[in-house]
């Protein structure tokens, strides 16, 4: 095990320009540069085939690293066998040993590492009590429920006391309720143990709720890595903007123009005055004046005007309620905008778009809204939280064009 001079294990993970090309020429991961801090909970998220699992398996040593280097601690592990990397992995299918009891499943890795019987017993029972598995120790996996199997899979990782946990969609085989419960448990467990963790999921809710930082991937490329708040508030490009958040961010083609005292964004038949604070935050917007942009508005940044009567007209838009979905704590109002939807070219297959009849927007409004299907509705927009993207590159417009993606990647050295 790699230790720093004081004797504490150091378990940073660093991807240095890592690429994966399979034998048939398929490229799964391209130029991945990322540093994960000691004790950090890092989530890899993205649609299937985005390279997140491949990246994880390269850390585990189950896939060869075609390009670049992966470091665990300060050791390059490219040619280190999985068993010598001091990692433990939780698989999507749990991969329990079906012919062994829970106890034997937990102890298997420890026996291979030649620990003493008393130490094995201690660790197995400690893990079993943490996970509430004590009464099942003598059972075989087939006699356990899905949730219990999932716990055994977690336990098998915990008993090893490794430097790094690798989790590959560990909750995707559970039903929705259990998933929420286990999500919280894993999160809590990781906090207590303080072990560096990489967690792969395709579920943006899991990513946002669990990760210290979240790395969003698409087609083998890292799109953005940030803490969940920043990822939500300042998505680096259209794909991240559409992928993070549910319902997804509304996006449409728009045109910027200079009004009397503010920047105006025009889309369809609507005009909104961009809040000066936002313009100050995004100085690069000035370059798009009188030009095309992609405007993004999150559903939660709309509100029924009836609940914000003081809102000025330049922040509101008049529309007709299409579909109304009451969810109890909120109401989702669908309405159409007479302008073409805009989706970044490489993200189009993952984001729903509506064809010719314009763009369907979704607004999340107060549960007591009086919006009725087919009736007109005035909505107020929080113009401090508009998002703008370059229509060519799909990148968010912040300070200067072209600098956004780089900026989001973690520090190269400590």
């Amino acid at each position: 095990m790699v230790r720093d001079p004081k004797g504490a294990p150091v378990a940073e993970i660093e991807f240095q320009d890592v690429g994966k090309v399979y034998a048939d020429g398929t490229r799964a991961v391209d130029a991945l540069d990322l540093q994960i801090q000691d004790g950090e909970f890092m989530v890899f998220v993205g649609p299937s085939g985005c390279g997140k699992t491949t990246a994880l398996r390269m850390v585990a040593g189950l896939e060869e690293i075609s390009e670049g280097a992966i470091l665990i601690g300060d050791r390059v592990v490219n040619n280190v066998s999985p068993k010598d990397r001091d990692i433990a992995m939780v698989f999507q299918t749990y991969a329990l040993y079906p012919h062994m009891t829970v106890e034997e499943n937990l102890a298997f890795g420890l026996r291979l590492r030649k620990l003493t019987k008393t130490e094995i017993g201690r660790r197995v029972h400690a893990a079993a009590s943490t996970l509430g598995l004590e009464e099942f120790l003598q059972r075989k996996p087939r006699a356990l429920s899905g949730g219990q199997r999932q716990r055994v899979a977690m336990g098998r990782a915990i008993v090893r006391e490794p430097q790094v946990y690798l989790m590959d969609e560990p909750l995707s085989n559970l039903d929705a309720k259990l998933r929420v419960q286990m999500r919280a448990e894993i999160h809590k467990l990781q906090r207590e143990l303080g072990v560096t963790t990489i967690y792969v999921t395709h579920d943006q809710t899991e990513a946002m709720t669990m990760g210290d930082r979240v790395a969003v991937m698409l087609s083998g490329h890292l799109q953005q890595v940030d803490d969940p708040e920043r990822l939500y508030a300042r998505p680096a490009n259209q794909f991240v903007a559409g992928f993070i958040g549910s319902p997804a961010m509304n996006m449409t083609e728009a045109r910027l123009s200079r009004g009397d005292d503010a920047l105006i964004v025009n889309f369809g038949a609507h005009r909104l005055a961009v809040d000066p604070e936002l313009v100050a935050e995004r100085p690069a917007l000035a370059a798009y004046e009188n030009g095309k942009v992609v405007l993004g508005i999150r559903p939660e940044d709309f509100e029924d005007a009836a609940f914000t009567p003081e809102a000025p007209p330049e922040r509101s838009l008049d529309t007709v309620t299409g579909l109304r979905e009451a969810l109890g704590s909120e109401v989702l109002v669908h309405f159409s905008i007479a302008s073409s939807s805009s989706v970044a070219p490489d993200a189009s297959e993952f984001i729903e778009s509506v064809g010719d009849e314009g763009t369907i927007f979704v607004a999340r409004v107060h549960p007591q809204t009086r919006a009725r299907e087919g009736e007109s509705l005035r909505l107020v927009v929080n113009t401090k939280r508009l998002h703008f993207f370059d229509p060519e590159t799909g990148r968010a417009i912040f300070a200067e064009a072209g600098a956004q993606t780089r900026m989001t990647v973690g520090p190269r050295s400590v």
Partner: protein, 284 residues
């Protein structure tokens, strides 16, 4: 055949319908047809030679154990021991060589894997009699003629394709994540094989071993041409009762009965453990 593939699911008991009844009757009829030669052999073994040769055949006769006595007096146990050693030894050797090959072909396939597999099978396509003369010559030259070692090598070579093909497919059915989990847990090839892969494919392994055993047990062509007094097997022993004069049906039947009995017993025992199968609780 008594070797039942462990992947054959136990059928649910259907509701009884007239069609099902006639199907059952047909099944019994076919089973009886298949079983009849065995039954006839066993019956003949208890007849006097004169009864055995009688035309039309007799179903009712005075049973005698004289034939069995004659078989035992003719050194049955030497041949039995040879057969046991040859079948067991060659099966063991074929497994020792074939299991790692199957493992490699199943878990580390390359673009050459299909070629390797068909090459392995191609050795089965040559009729044994085609290789007989060269084998006799070579075995006599190198001193393997009529030795147990020579026959074990030969039978192992004949059984190797069977072991590789069957075990490769059983291995390939294992969830890959279980192996990956054991790799991450720190297991090497030997541990993965003995602690994970073989326990999980035990029914398949038993079926494969049984088929290999039966082949070696019953093989006649090579045995009769390559062995003499030292390493003769039971099929050779049975054929030894054939004489050009006098009656030999009953004694030969007794010898056959004693030769197949162990195989039937082994098959019956194996079937009980094979059918049990393994229910996977590992994934999902």
């Amino acid at each position: 055949m008594s070797a039942v593939s462990p992947r054959v699911a136990v059928p649910k008991r259907p509701r009884v319908r007239p069609g099902a009844i006639s199907l059952t009757a047909l099944t019994y009829a076919i089973a009886l047809l298949v079983f009849f030669p065995v039954l006839w052999t066993v019956l003949t073994a208890f007849k006097k030679e004169a009864d055995a040769a009688a035309t039309p055949p007799t179903f009712f006769f005075h049973a005698t154990f004289a034939n069995f006595q004659a078989v035992f007096d003719a050194d049955y146990f030497t041949y039995f021991k040879n057969t046991l050693l040859l079948a067991g030894g060659s099966t063991l050797l074929a497994l020792v060589l074939g299991l790692p090959a199957a493992y490699s072909l199943a878990f580390h396939p390359s673009k050459h894997t299909p070629k390797v597999l068909s090459w392995v099978l191609s050795t089965k396509m040559l009729p044994a009699v085609g290789a007989l003369i060269p084998l006799v010559v070579i075995y006599k030259r190198v001193g393997l003629f009529d030795t147990r070692l020579g026959m074990i090598l030969l039978y192992a070579a004949f059984n190797l394709p069977l072991v590789i093909w069957m075990m490769r497919s059983f291995f390939a059915d294992l969830p890959k994540e279980i192996l990956e989990a054991s790799i991450v847990d720190g297991a090497g090839f030997f541990r993965i094989m003995t602690r994970i892969v073989l326990p999980l494919t035990a029914p398949g392994l038993a079926a494969t071993a049984l088929l290999s055993l039966i082949f070696s047990w019953n093989e006649f062509l090579l045995a009769v041409n390559l062995t003499a007094a030292n390493s003769g097997t039971l099929p050779v022993f049975i054929s030894g009762f054939q004489t050009s004069e006098g009656l030999f049906f009953a004694k030969m039947s007794a010898a056959s009965t004693l030769a197949v009995a162990p195989v039937i017993l082994a098959g019956w025992l194996a079937q009980r453990s094979l059918v049990r199968g393994l229910t996977f609780g590992a994934v999902k």
